[in-house]
């Protein structure tokens, strides 16, 4: 079983990002996904910075994949996408436009979790288009992933989103800017003040969702920690970066997968709580159960 470090979903200061990946170079992850996937206005790192990080991490022995932005709207977004493809690194396609460019260039790609692959024939289509690896939709259960794998006829590696707040929805509207009564085009880059997003609670105080720019996430952390015993057919698990403790989380998963003694300090890592309902075929918000 491989471990991967998913793309950074938040907007962090430049030095924080550089420090984070300098540390990650020493973590037991096989693959690191890099790049801005949420909002083109986030500019602490430019493409050249991401490419320099990619070179550093390749040098440290990591496979590097550049992730494309999930919601591509403007011509600027598409120019950025073309540059990603031309960079020579592998890419994760999170939009059909990215699939087209990778396919046209004859370049293998990772079919990201927002491409809506729910069945074997569809997975086969993506494999034929050049996907070497895929991520099931975040709402997929263990049983539905197994059913897709039973139907597919082409070889492809399977990676599952295993730990982190779930990116549940994308909008043209920026909810962080809306919170501050700002226009999206003049957002003052408020996301940088919220390195793990902004919690959105119900009127009776239940933490429900998390605002992260144009993305709406789960307030709770999706965690497959208690589900690692039954991962037939899965080749890799993705850990999603968070402000603190990412390295400890990676190390604990690596130890547990290797059969070494491992403990999870869930209360410290994720005080927002753990959920894994999706993986068990239920509502995603249902809490994890030890078993």
């Amino acid at each position: 079983m491989q471990l991967t470090l998913g793309p950074l979903l938040y907007y962090w200061p430049r030095q924080t990002v550089l420090d984070f990946y300098a540390e990650a170079a020493g973590w037991p992850v096989d693959t690191v996904y890099l790049g801005e996937v949420v909002c083109a206005r986030r500019h602490e790192l430019k493409l050249a910075d991401w490419l320099a990080l990619a070179a550093d991490l390749s040098g440290a022995g990591k496979a590097v994949v550049l992730s494309s932005q999930a919601l591509l709207e403007s011509s600027g977004d598409l120019i950025g996408l073309k540059k990603l493809i031309e960079s020579g690194f592998a890419i994760e396609a999170n939009d059909l436009g990215a699939v087209k460019l990778a396919r046209d260039a004859g370049r293998p790609f990772v079919a990201g979790p927002h491409l809506n692959i729910y069945n074997g024939p569809t997975l086969d289509w993506f494999a034929e288009a050049g996907a070497s690896r895929w991520l099931p939709p975040l709402e997929a259960s263990r049983d539905s992933v197994a059913a897709v794998l039973a139907e597919k006829t082409r070889p492809i590696a399977t990676e599952v989103f295993a730990h982190g707040r779930l990116p549940l929805a994308f909008s043209a509207r920026c909810f962080t800017a809306r919170h501050y009564d700002l226009n999206k085009d003049a957002c003052e880059f408020k996301c940088i003040d919220h390195p793990d997003g902004l919690t959105m609670a119900t009127r009776e105080g239940q933490d429900f969702l998390c605002i992260n720019g144009i993305q709406t996430m789960s307030a709770a952390c999706h965690a497959l920690w208690h589900d690692l015993g039954d991962l037939a057919g899965i080749d890799a698990l993705r850990i999603s970066p968070q402000q603190h403790h990412t390295g400890e989380i990676v190390a604990a998963y690596a130890a547990k997968l290797a059969g070494r003694p491992a403990t999870a300090d869930a209360a410290c890592w994720n005080p927002e709580g753990w959920v894994d309902g999706y993986w068990r075929g239920e509502a995603g918000i249902h809490p994890t159960q030890e078993h």
């Binding site: 059909l96 809506n116 074997g120 709402e139």
Partner: protein, 333 residues
């Protein structure tokens, strides 16, 4: 001035289909009575015999019928979706509206004469995405998610041979369609998997003294004070608390209304304007179709302006009696 766009209206039942056609729809779209379509609600939608009657009614009047098979085929049950495509083809419908690339490949291979539209649930927001569907599956029309500004829609139209359909009126999705799983996070059922959003079976209304709580799967979506009109708890349209501020954190209950920008939509060359609402009544379909028909017919005139009577008709039919231009209007973003 570009050609007049088609008016594409919803039908959740045969009476709604006839109402749409009688009041000026060029095209009606509908779905089978199962999880293959994104309005899979109890008491709604069509069996084979009703589709046959609907197609006969439409074709006798020179109009078209589209069938939405726009959920994602679930592993182990793909044959159900293939059967729906086969049935639609056999029933002589004018096009099927699909989102799942595997289904597009199946339809293109199995029914090469069948006209294919890319559903809004296919989440194609740029010309490259649409052109992929065109090159691989011969898709002839794409329905754009409600996330683009008018200049962005115009840019897409300029870079694709595929006809572009946009939403003109109805309930507003604030999220990119096909890319939102908020509903399954709360309930286990989403548009992509079950063809539903914030499904009615999970809704509970709980009086709290003089207030009313609206819950979805136990989660408090909104709380209405005495005398405040209570809306359906669609989970992106409730009031939530962010840093001590309680407000509509994602979106107000509101409907999309594009009457003000119809001349612009025509000028940039949209091929079709769609009305949302297969879950709505024949009376709703009648009122909205008649209004949009009149507006589209008038919008080619340089002296076009939105008539107060149209707004009077549409306002009470809108969610929360509020309307917006949505993403077409840049400040909304």
């Amino acid at each position: 001035m570009s050609a007049k766009p088609q008016l594409v209206c919803p039908a959740g039942s045969l009476p709604a289909l006839k109402a749409a056609i009688d009041h000026g729809a060029d095209t009606v779209y509908l779905g089978f009575r199962n999880a293959t379509n994104a309005r899979n609600f109890a008491g709604l939608n069509f069996g084979d015999a009703q589709i046959r009657d609907g197609v006969a009614y439409a074709h006798a009047r020179g109009r078209e019928v589209l069938v939405a098979i726009n959920t994602y085929a679930q592993a182990g049950r793909v044959a159900d979706w293939h059967r729906a495509i086969d049935q639609a083809a056999d029933l002589g419908v004018d096009a099927v509206i699909l989102a799942d690339l595997g289904l597009l490949a199946y339809a293109h291979r199995t029914h090469p004469q069948l006209r294919l539209h890319l559903s809004v649930q296919g989440s194609a927001t740029n010309a490259d995405a649409i052109n992929l569907a065109h090159e691989c599956f011969g898709v002839r029309r794409a329905v754009l998610p409600r996330v683009l500004t008018l200049p962005q829609v115009e840019a897409v139209i300029g870079k694709t041979p595929v006809e572009i359909e946009v939403f003109g009126f109805g309930s507003l999705c604030v999220m990119a369609e096909g890319r939102c799983i908020l509903s399954s996070y709360a309930t286990g059922q989403s548009p992509n998997t079950h063809g539903v959003c914030s499904p009615a079976g999970f809704v509970r209304w709980e009086p709290q003294g003089k207030a009313m709580d609206a819950r979805l799967a136990g989660i408090l979506i909104d709380r209405y004070a005495e005398g405040e009109p209570a809306g359906y708890p669609t989970l992106c349209k409730g009031r939530f608390d962010v840093e001590g501020d309680t407000y509509y954190a994602l979106e107000e209950p509101t409907s999309l209304n594009t009457l003000a920008v119809l001349p612009e939509l025509i000028r940039i060359g949209v091929a079709a304007i769609k009305v949302e609402g297969r879950q709505r009544s024949p009376a709703y379909v009648t009122a909205v179709t008649r209004t949009l028909r009149a507006a589209i017919d008038a919008a080619g005139d340089a002296r076009y302006s939105v008539r107060p009577a149209w707004l009077d008709t549409l306002a009470p039919l809108s969610e929360g009696h509020q309307q917006t231009l949505g993403a077409y209007n840049r400040p909304w973003r």
